[in-house]
Symmetry: C2
Subunit: 205 residues, 2 copies
């Protein structure tokens, strides 16, 4: 079985290679950049599975994922990420990824997951996708926010204006302003942009 791992973190690359080295039937290739990954796919096709890190320089978000999927020539591509949340995972799967590997997963499970995906199945960790809706609400930052404030913060982190958030939530703009002010106070932000950065730093969204 031939596996290609793409990650800009050399350390992760090394460590994962080492992990799979003990699996006799798995042949691991690695690439640290998007370009070298594509080149490797060109020359060393076919792979049974490509493990792609979600956050690579030059690969911005989901657009990057689609690009790789298009250029993978039919190889199944699975996403890896240490930070991405459920929404991202869902979108990646909709875009055609065959799996999603959060880096919070155990190494042993990783091997199983890789075999699973290489055999043509779609893998998503159960506890990741099927956790209670409010999982993320357990985050220390989000805990004090009301449901609406959380939704507004979510919209804010997409870079939306108050008016747009209001449209999405079917509320009046003035209501968004109120929630915005309150949530800023609660998380200690001086303004909306500050709030967005604090939320992002904390790993929300």
């Amino acid at each position: 079985m031939r596996l290609l791992i793409v990650d800009d973190h050399t350390m992760v690359l090394d460590l994962m290679s080492a992990l799979f080295a003990s699996e006799k039937d798995i042949d691991v290739s690695t690439a640290a950049t998007y370009e070298s990954a594509l080149k490797t796919i060109e020359t060393n096709n076919p792979f049974d599975l490509i493990l792609l890190d979600f956050s690579m320089p030059g690969l911005v978000g989901l657009e990057g994922v689609s690009t790789v999927l298009k250029q993978a020539r039919g190889c199944p591509v699975a996403l890896m990420s240490g930070v991405a949340n459920r929404d991202v995972a869902k979108l990646a799967l909709e875009a055609g990824a065959v799996g999603f590997i959060p880096k919070t997963m155990q190494a042993k499970s990783l091997i199983n997951a890789v075999r699973f995906m290489a055999s043509g199945e779609v893998y998503v960790p159960n506890d990741f996708m099927n956790a209670p809706i409010d999982e993320r609400r357990e985050h220390p930052l989000a805990r004090n926010l009301s449901e609406r404030e959380y939704q507004v913060l979510k919209g804010l982190c997409k870079g939306l204006a108050n008016k747009e958030i209001a449209r999405d939530l079917e509320l009046q703009e003035v209501t968004i302003k109120l929630h915005m002010k309150n949530l800023c106070r609660k998380i200690g932000a001086n303004n909306r942009t500050h709030a967005a950065m604090i939320a992002r730093d904390a790993g929300l969204f």
Copy 2:
């Protein structure tokens, strides 16, 4: 030598444990949360080195680092991060960290670095700190920005208002507005918050 690795990514924890397992004289403990790390420090002291992941839920940025440093009871603490930049590394060192490990590092170098730090030295990868100042300017997003636009974007990503950025750069507020508008257009943002999120997503700042 006793080593404690703290990272919310179980996979990283597993892989690194495996890496150090082949080093006979290194005894590795791990913790996946801030709380369990502190508990482990309480009961299993002393460690020769603590490797702390920079982005842990509940540990927001540098404040979290200082907290751990305070509670580490003299154990040297080194920071690990896949995303942090030079500024963060510098601040961490100033706060008392004994080293900084970017996850772009090779696994083999990691072992050396760990031994180095455990022996009382301060470790920072040369190519990380001493790279040319404009390293980050090579980023696809930042390449098209002028120097001033880059500085304004940097201020924005701290959550600063135009007036504050103007004070910091010793410019007029109106000038900041101009740069802000131009940089938003260049990176495809609809407004300042959107720009900040795009920059953050791209790994800038």
